[in-house]
Symmetry: C2
Subunit: 309 residues, 2 copies
């Protein structure tokens, strides 16, 4: 029996490069052999493992939380960016740029204990629906990438998510959805503080940034959480470029892959000019260095897994 471990991949250069790399590093006695503990693979999340259009899922979560919390915040009716959001005017709300986004994130992600935030995420991810497909967000994941993650794990790799998204927004569901446990998720975070509440210890989430796991932050986050350099890295945007550079700069066999969103019919088509998941410098560097670039339209037989019941 020799079942194809990557059945959703068309038999092109991308698939062949993956299979050839795994064969090289797992073959005992080969000059490129890598011992199992060093087989670290890191995956970006938004746009690499799941869809990020028309807006980052976590931002959709934050907007839903603003609506849910509004009754407890009468002052939001007259304070931007909340007033515009509550009127359904997203563009007006975001007129303030990054500062507005940060206000929305902090208002919805801090001020509670970690176990409370965990429960909020679990409830939301179970019930929220993607605005265009109406599917749960945890079904807006890429079937070919699920197969790739599983294929690497079956070959002795330890797989990590390394995302610009919030670490505590991802951990409640990555194990169920990707088979990646919480301790193998790296992401952005706000500060937390130990406190005693009624004699029980809790960790309170503070309205203060702790770490931004994007761009130059990704190698920093990888070093802090994993402490080893990956031998394979997977991304889809310029925010992943330094992770791929950091991975490529190690000794021995290395594998870097960009998912290029080229399928306007089945998913979305965007790169250089996109405000979400911009891919510009990354494409240039991938071409110059011979990294694998997945053409979603050509390389993937399907995009999403079949709908659950």
């Amino acid at each position: 029996m020799n079942l194809d471990p990557l059945p959703s991949w068309n038999d092109g250069q991308a698939k062949q490069s993956i299979v050839a790399f795994v064969a090289r590093v797992t073959k005992k006695g080969s000059p490129d052999f890598v011992p199992e503990p060093e087989r670290i693979a890191t995956f970006d999340n938004d746009g690499t493992l799941w869809a990020e259009q028309p807006m980052y899922t976590q931002f959709a979560f934050a907007l839903d939380r603003v609506m849910a919390l509004a009754p407890q915040h009468p002052e939001w009716q007259t304070t931007e960016p909340f007033a515009s959001l509550l009127k359904g005017d997203l563009q007006g709300a975001l007129a303030g740029g990054e500062k507005s986004i940060l206000q929305v994130v902090m208002a919805t992600h801090s001020g509670m204990a970690t176990h409370e935030f965990n429960a909020i995420v679990i409830d939301w991810i179970a019930t929220a629906r993607h605005p265009t497909t109406k599917r749960p967000y945890t079904e807006m994941i890429y079937q070919p990438m699920l197969e790739l993650v599983a294929y690497l794990r079956a070959n002795g790799f330890k797989t990590f998510v390394v995302s610009g998204g919030g670490i505590e927004f991802m951990r409640p569901w990555t194990e169920r959805v990707y088979g990646i446990p919480p301790e193998q998720v790296v992401g952005s975070s706000i500060k937390t503080k130990f406190a005693m509440q009624d004699g029980k210890p809790v960790l309170m989430r503070l309205a203060e940034a702790n770490f931004i796991d994007d761009g130059e932050g990704k190698p920093v986050g990888i070093n802090e959480h994993i402490g080893r350099r990956p031998i394979a890295a997977f991304g889809n945007s310029d925010g992943d470029l330094q992770m791929l550079q950091w991975t490529a700069a190690g000794d021995g066999a290395r594998f870097c892959l960009y998912v290029h969103h080229t399928d306007a019919a089945r998913e979305w088509a965007y790169d250089k000019a996109s405000s979400v998941g911009q891919l510009d410098k990354g494409l240039v560097e991938a071409a110059a260095r011979g990294w694998t670039v997945v053409d979603m339209k050509q390389d993937w037989k399907v995009i999403y897994p079949p709908a659950s019941k």
Copy 2:
């Protein structure tokens, strides 16, 4: 065959409590059964897995680095705390308290790339000797604790170091010495910054504190790195108390253990009054809550593993 997995433990209450806990959480169908992915065990390092007297090993490292770096720093001859250190006057050097210690740490731990620091640690740990026993520091480890770490792993636990020590000071050797890989080491850290050097990405170590993984910081570090609450935690000082409290506060079966340094003949005897590894509040809480307290003199047949050749 039913070999004792903890041969260096005398058959007393401490050993019995460990074995009973492992039996409870690993027996399928038992009400206390814990699935493997949730079997997280966290170990303090200094004083719990290896000796911390007469001074923290990492501080001995820092002092050796001051000596090694002195020729490149003529200004140290006239600047405290370095001037006193170079004269061999440790007490004088530490007269400045925490500020002096921080100066020594930053002067010896920052200003280089992570791979350079890694090489410095590997070289030092291979050659340095403990001042009183003259053994390598990696042999100043507790044989009974090594057996305990291995016993938990053999029972499906994932074992982590959670130490106030520097994360990048520990990672170069924890896998070889404890069987704990870099990605399962949590510790204190300084900030790092991504930079390009001759077209190659590096992470530069900055003279700026990032995280202090001690006391109330331990649950914060555990949450950030592991994202799950441990079901078992092992420490030896008041700096581990919040980690044990955080562990104990979870639902279901929990195990908390303090190593009490009671053996002045074979190791050191210290607790309430010690400046290194002070154990005062922890002993009170352990007694009140029925946590296991290891009496090193009574409970351990041997302290260290046999000397290597």
